[in-house]
Each structure stands twice: as C-alpha cells, then as structure tokens.
Symmetry: C2
Amino acid sequence: MNEVFKALADASRRSLLDRLHAKNGQTLNELCDGLAMTRQAVTKHLGILEAANLVTTLRHGREKLHYINPVPIHQIGERWIKKFERGKLAALSELKRQLEKRDE
Amino acid sequence: MNEVFKALADASRRSLLDRLHAKNGQTLNELCDGLAMTRQAVTKHLGILEAANLVTTLRHGREKLHYINPVPIHQIGERWIKKFERGKLAALSELKRQLEKRDE
DNA sequence: ATAATAGGCAACCAAAAGGTTGCATGTCAA
DNA sequence: TTGACATGCAACCTTTTGGTTGCCTATTAT
C-alpha cells in the first residue's frame, strides 16, 4: 500500500492515470503526446505505476499497451480513507470545542 | 490537492495521522514517543501535514496540541477516488477481453 | 533487405526529501 | 529567579526522485 501512496504522490503519474481513465489501453508513445517530458521519463513513471499494480501492460507486437487497474485505488478508499471518515464529525466537534476554549 | 497526496506519500506521516486518529490533540513530545526519529524530524513531518491542512494546531502555554483535520482526506475520496470507481467494472472487463485476445 | 518505428537500458545530474546535530527561545514550577 | 521542560530555527548531510542524453534491440512496412 505504501507503493501505491508513493506512486500517487506525483502529479505527472496521476495525470497518466487520468489519461488512461479517459482512454484505456494506450501505447507508450500515445501517452507521451503533449507531455513536456521525454519518452524515457514517461517510461519510468509508468514503471512505478506498474510496480504499484496501478497499471497493467500487454505487449502487442512492438507496441506496449497500458491498462489502468482501479483495484488499488479502490482499496485506498476502502482500507484507508474510510477509517478516517468514521469519527470525522467527532473530530471536528472536538476541534471546535478546543478552538472555543482558546478564548476562555 | 497535490500537497495532500505528497503529504500522504510518507509512511511516517500516515502513522502520525493514525496516532492522532486514535488520540486527538496530542503534543509534539507525545507524538515523538516510540518513534525511531528525533523530535526535529517529527516537527518537520507535522509541518508538512499542517501545510497540507491535514493537521491543525493549537498553542496551549508551552505545549502545541495537534488535531487531525479529516476534510482533505475525505476530499481525496470524493473528488479523486470516486472518479476511478465509475467505470471500474468496464475497465476490468475490457482488460479481461484484451488478455483473452492475447491467445488468438 | 533495409529503413522507420516502438520501445528498453544505463549512466549521469540537479533538486528535493528525510533525517541529523547544535543552539536559541518561551513557559512553567520550585 | 532559576532550572527544567516544550518547542523553534538553521545549517548540514545522504539518499531518493524526476529528469536528461546516448545508444541498443525488436518489430514492422516498403
């Protein structure tokens, strides 16, 4: 899960995921289009996404197709974010109470 | 939002959030307890969490109390993760189709 | 066959991240 | 009022990160 968080920390990588979400199964060169970055840099980013299991690839002749895997993203939501949503209101009201106490 | 992702990328910082989730309003020294890190390192981590608005602080005499702010975490779930959950099944079935096509 | 196309690999580089040590400051208690 | 405690600030160091350039390999189209 740490790998997933790390992979998502970079805006370029999140934008790659966005692009795959818009159009799945793109080749490396397709994904390079319009990015202010060399192909090799994009390769590295995709490698990190793949290592985090956020992207799966499929060789098709000389092309490499990239597919998004939404499962780890979903797991972040389920296993991590939800934990903090329980007790969200409690935390906020406690904070409010403390803030008000400041003026006593 | 980039700041939030970056802040969440580090395991030590996520563990600090966990600890604040377990017991809100801890002082710096309290949060240092049991961590294999100097107080100054923890200060930096808390600073990053604060800059990302994930933690709010409150001075109380010579103590600094730290409170978790669950709102940005919730927003990651709402604005970012949900986007990828729509079309999750579609993406998976497309992937499956492609994987099967490999053996043609 | 051969040129163009799609991608892989490795060395290198600058900047950012994560951490440390040392010292300064503000607050509380005896 | 003075010592102990809680935190702040700054310089410094090492590793990781994000990116580059240069060259190599495999596949496809002519």
